[in-house]
């Protein structure tokens, strides 16, 4: 167990004309070494949820336990929490500010009051992990391409050595190849560095291919939670709340609904193609 949310409620814009309950009675457990995707349309509460995980927003009621300790306890160190649960926001432009890439990535470690050597090691380690080469170390982060900026932003959070990496739409605005690069990076961090990954995503295709667990949010509530293969069975329900399933999965549902005897829970192009071929050959 890494993070446990119990009966968490959160109201946005309290006392204003736009008051809205963003999260309603959330109960969740994020396990060690999961690769979780949170999906839901804008305003479903997913952004608020991930900000609760590292204490940037505070729940109105309910409790959040990190390794069994209540993060709202007086003697709980928020600074420690924020280093253990690293949060990468959607737009890298919101965090890049230093004159060079290295200095920017070092911002986190320097805030941690570590020994200089450790800070330096983790800075360069993080840059290596995200695949930013030496030739870019002294470049201004603002001069980088969109994909590179995103990598540097992730490195800036990785450098504080989090156990859990939380990312808000890490692929937004990237072209297909750029998306794949970021995903492969996350997969590598997950499998090699054993970092628990939680990401918000809009692309069901990407979720199906990479995530081990999907949490579906709608109007401040968790409506579905489980392996992609199980969650994507509920195509009709997902469509009702403005979401969907990967086209490869949808195709199998569509075939089965019309009486074809195919396995329905295919997630990727390859799975669907081999299933269809098997079905076509069957007499």
């Amino acid at each position: 167990m890494s993070i446990l949310l119990r009966n968490v409620n959160y109201t946005y814009g309290k006392g204003s004309s736009e008051e809205k309950q963003a999260l309603k009675n959330i109960n969740l457990e994020i396990h060690k070494n999961e690769f979780t995707a949170i999906v839901g349309h804008t305003g479903s509460g997913k952004s608020t949820l991930i900000q609760l995980l590292n204490g940037l927003e505070k729940a109105d009621s309910g409790e959040i336990l990190f390794h069994g300790k209540n993060i709202y306890d007086k003697d709980f160190s928020m600074k420690m929490l924020r280093s253990k649960v690293g949060l990468v926001f959607q737009y890298p432009e919101h965090q890049l500010f230093e004159a060079t890439v290295v200095k920017d990535v070092a911002f986190g470690p320097n805030n941690m009051e570590w020994e200089p050597l450790k800070a330096e090691l983790s800075t360069f380690g993080a840059l290596k992990d995200v695949g930013i080469g030496e030739e870019l170390f002294d470049v201004s982060p603002l001069a980088l391409s969109g994909g590179q900026k995103r990598r540097v932003a992730i490195a800036g959070v990785l450098a504080v050595e989090p156990e859990i990496l939380v990312l808000d739409e890490p692929m937004a605005g990237l072209d297909p190849a750029g998306r794949k690069e970021i995903f492969d990076l996350l997969k590598k961090l997950h499998s090699e560095r054993k970092i628990t990954i939680i990401m918000v995503s809009h692309s069901m295709e990407d979720v199906a291919e990479y995530a081990s667990r999907v949490i579906v949010m709608n109007q401040g509530e968790v409506v579905l939670d489980g392996e992609p293969r199980k969650v994507f069975r509920y195509e009709k329900e997902l469509k009702q709340i403005g979401l969907g399933v990967p086209q490869a999965t949808s195709l199998m549902h569509c075939l089965a609904a019309q009486g074809a005897g195919v396995k329905e829970d295919c997630l990727t192009v390859q799975e669907s193609v081999s299933e269809i071929l098997k079905w076509l050959k069957r007499v």
Binding site: T42, G147, P176, Q247, V269, L277, V283
Partner: protein
């Protein structure tokens, strides 16, 4: 359709654009050729998509269509007007309206209807006419009930529809969406696409959709794929998606349905490659299967 009778509204011939990159002292360090010999012809009333990865030159191309940039070499005519001639600026901008990527950074006024009227005010349309046209284009884009709202309280998709209304109020012949869906969530993206599709079909507005989302181009009549400032390939969506290798070189990827169709073809299943929707493919497969049986 009287396709032959329809003339080209956009004609680019050997279009090139260069700009100089400068260092801190203002000295030129590098000449960047963002567009390099682009030939594009778009017929009036058609729906054309320009696909390309980040940095492929597709946005530079879009900015030429509105005379926000003009050719270094080659020519570009918008509805017969030469974009090299600065006299044509206002006329071109009224003929070809532009919707940009960031919804927040293109809404000028603090109230929805006032923003929609902004362009009309600029070209000196009389007040009564402005009110009429604003109402009309807000209704066209389904944003009429928000006319007195502040843009800050709208969703991304709604803001983009306000921007589209602002363009439509100018009664343009052509509307260019420069990655206008890139910052939206799937719901917002769909609402914007539905709106422009309707405008294309009902009002016969020429649509130029610039994007890197492959699913969006399946509805287009014609697709141009850009790479490093050149047109890498073009054709109907089906033709373009077939060039898997070219797409990959362009840092793009065909939608899953197209990939499945192609994989099936490769495995020897006889199926047409002009299928873009789940329902159509399922239908086709079921027909094949019953053919096997019968």
């Amino acid at each position: 359709m009287k396709e032959q009778a329809k003339k080209y509204i956009i004609e680019a011939e050997n279009l090139a654009h260069e700009y100089a990159r400068r260092d801190e002292n203002g000295d030129v360090t590098e000449i960047v050729r963002a567009l390099d010999g682009v030939d594009v012809q778009i017929r009036e009333g058609s729906f054309v998509a320009v696909l390309g990865a980040n940095g492929s030159g597709k946005s530079t191309f879009a900015k030429h269509l509105n005379r926000l940039l003009f050719p270094t070499e080659g020519t570009l005519y918008i509805d017969g007007m030469d974009t090299a001639d600065s006299e044509n600026t206002l006329a071109i901008r009224q003929t070809a309206g532009m919707v940009f990527q960031n919804p927040d950074n293109q809404i000028i006024a603090n109230i929805v209807e006032e923003d929609v009227g902004f362009g009309l005010e600029n070209v000196g349309v009389p007040t009564d006419e402005i009110l009429l046209r604003v109402e009309e284009s807000l209704k066209e884009t389904g944003m009429y009930s928000y006319r007195r709202h502040s843009p800050n309280h709208l969703s991304g998709g709604q803001k983009q529809r306000v921007a589209i209304a602002g363009v439509m109020a100018m009664r343009p012949k052509c509307i260019i969406l420069d990655e206008a869906t890139a910052m939206l969530d799937p719901v917002g993206r769909k609402s914007v696409l539905d709106t422009i599709k309707r405008l294309n079909q009902k009002e016969h507005i020429t649509v130029v959709l610039i994007t890197h989302y492959m699913e969006e181009v399946t509805q287009a009549d014609y697709v141009y794929v850009m790479k490093q400032g050149t047109v890498a390939c073009s054709g109907t969506p089906g033709e373009v998606f077939q060039n898997v290798g070219t797409l990959k070189e362009c840092r793009l990827e065909a939608p899953q349905i197209t990939q499945i169709v192609q994989e099936l073809c490769r495995a020897g299943v006889s199926i047409t490659n002009e299928i873009y929707s789940v329902e159509r493919l399922a239908e086709e497969l079921l027909r094949l299967k019953s053919g096997f049986k019968g």
